[in-house]
Amino acid sequence: MAMQVVAEPIQRLIEALTRLPGIGPKSASRLAFYLLRAPAEQVQELAAAIGELQESIVYCSRCQNLSQQDPCEICSDPSRDMHIICVVEEPLDVVAIERTGVYHGLYHVLHGVINPVEGIRPEDLRIESLLERKEKEPIREVLIATNPTMEGEATAMYLARLLRSGGVRVTRLARGLPVGGDLEYADEVTLSRALEGRREM
């Protein structure tokens, strides 16, 4: 058997870090040795933050986003427009849309998209709770903001069919050219979408 070169606690941390996305064995050992030599309070702060992460974070029972409180900050903000729900794939998509400062409605996070090859079916997504919201809340519009990938489109179409009843308007995020982009470098599919979605001016 090979001699144990690295002390057991360090080895254990390295293995734990290697399981994180984007971290290989090399980065893991570099992080482990950095933490070994770092000031004690910095390490404790990190340990505490990791420890509290799963305890303090909950799913908002309304929009299914990750939050510290239930309902989440957005759902409990009375200044938000309660008549519109923006449906997104992941919590980070909420962050992206919030950054625009243009949207003032509510959200609904699906936590994934329909992808049969990966074994993800509608029942694996938070769709049931979206349909309940449509019944209970004074919703006038559902804006579907899944990604313009094939799986995102499949999810959007599936949702639209379920939602399109009872006077609710179902809309889809527009597709087209990026701002500051160059027509010459746009791929044909994007450009043809932009042509289809042209606007009166």
Partner: protein, 411 residues
């Protein structure tokens, strides 16, 4: 369009190759297993991002290099087009965690998708194995259609790639649905629509190509065979797009007679094909669920070669099959030139030796009618002296190419 320079690193038996290529005809002579086919394979790979013969990309990496810590292979071409030079390159790198390789495609130094590369340097490759076009499996014929069409029609290439992605999603869903749970009609709706949308484009282009092919190939075939029988080509789709089954119909309409009589397809618009495809998918739902896969669609297409009423695949002699395949290749050159606006590079891998004088003459005519052709042979005797004098001659030995002569300039 001309291929001006080819660089290979660790590709098959070429550890290192820097080759300047001239316009006109180049003839590469070499004994067996010295690298003749590998050279043409490299050019075809750069043109289509697929190998005409390898089962996996791992086979393309020099086998001595594969044992090294970081094995890779690189292919690069400089292509002259409208007085501009474009650089195409493909690097094969080991994929993480398994023994496969991934492709990195660049155009003028910028990373692009493989699909963007296809069509920038159109080629038509003639191989002795071409007889399989007629004698082989439907899969080989679909591959022939796809490679030709992808090089001249980028929208075809995109539709085909989307079709294939949709097909694997739909097949996965069919298997999940068969295990129970879920509403098949609701969940399949999107994938059915997408399959019909992309599939009908694929079918329309294949039909168009096969019509053109029949016209050109039957002319070439008359010359090649010196006979009176007309070569006919027929598109054999897996369902009749002229029929729209009832939504409640429990089984597909029979396709047996369809294979015999062919389809009156020309009059149909892509929109009609799409509606028919969709109706067939809906009618065949229970069959698809039972099989756990999609049983109808262009992934089940075939192309039939007929002489009179005889299907050459079943009844043709080896010689008849070879002649028909050669006619189809020659026709491909003509169609590509007309449709793409630029003549393809002709690549011929040792096909002269097994042909008689008439057929050789026809090939030579094709070779000299395009701006650039690269031909391999084991024996210089396959070519007549005037042709040799006007060609760039090279020999290959153990992955090393040597130039013997520049062509004689004629005023």
């Amino acid at each position: 369009m001309l291929l001006r320079h080819l660089s290979l690193t660790n590709f098959r038996n070429y550890v290192r190759l820097e080759l300047d290529l001239a316009p006109g005809l180049s003839i590469v002579q070499g004994e067996n297993a010295q690298g003749k086919s590998n050279l043409l394979e490299a050019i075809a790979y750069l043109a289509t991002s697929r190998s005409p013969r390898a089962g996996s990309d791992a086979e393309l990496v020099n086998w001595l290099v594969r044992e090294e810590p970081y094995p890779y292979a690189r292919l690069a071409a400089e292509v002259e087009k409208h007085q501009r030079v474009e650089r195409l390159d493909i690097t094969l790198l080991p994929a993480r965690n398994n023994h496969r390789y991934r492709k990195q495609v660049r155009i003028n130094g910028v990373n692009r998708r493989a699909i963007d590369l296809v069509g920038l340097m159109p080629v038509v490759l003639f191989r002795p194995e071409d007889v399989e076009l007629v004698a082989g499996t439907p899969q080989q014929r679909r591959r022939y259609l796809d490679i030709a069409l992808c090089q001249m029609e980028p929208p075809y290439c995109r539709a085909l790639s989307e079709y294939n992605k949709t097909l694997s999603q739909r097949n996965a869903l069919l298997r999940h649905l068969a295990e129970g749970g879920g509403d098949p009609v609701q969940e399949l709706r999107f994938w059915n629509d997408k399959l019909a949308e992309t599939g009908s484009l694929v079918m329309a282009k294949r039909q168009w190509f096969i019509n053109r092919l029949e016209r050109e190939a039957s002319l070439r075939h008359l010359d090649l065979s010196g006979g009176f029988e007309r070569l006919r080509l027929r598109y054999l789709p897996s369902f009749d797009p002229g029929i729209r089954p009832e939504p409640r119909q429990r089984r597909y309409p029979s396709t047996a007679s369809l294979r015999e009589r062919g389809v009156a397809y020309e009059a149909l618009t892509p929109e009609q094909v799409r509606a028919s495809f969709l109706a067939h998918l809906q009618a065949g739902l229970s069959r698809d669920l039972a099989a756990g896969m999609t049983l109808l669609g262009p992934h089940r297409d075939d192309l039939g070669f007929y002489l009179g009423e005889y299907n050459l695949r079943t009844y043709g002699s080896r010689g008849q099959q070879r002649t028909a395949a050669l006619a189809a290749r020659l026709a491909e050159v003509t169609i590509m030139t007309e449709a793409g606006g630029t003549a393809p590079i002709l690549l011929m891998d040792d096909v002269m030796s097994e042909l008689d004088a008439t057929r050789r003459a026809m090939l030579v005519e094709a070779l000299t009618s395009v701006p650039q052709a690269i031909v391999t042979t084991t024996d210089w005797e396959d070519f007549q002296t005037p042709l040799l004098e006007h060609a760039t001659r090279l020999t290959v030995h153990a992955g090393q190419l040597t130039r013997l002569s520049a062509p004689v300039e004629t005023a």
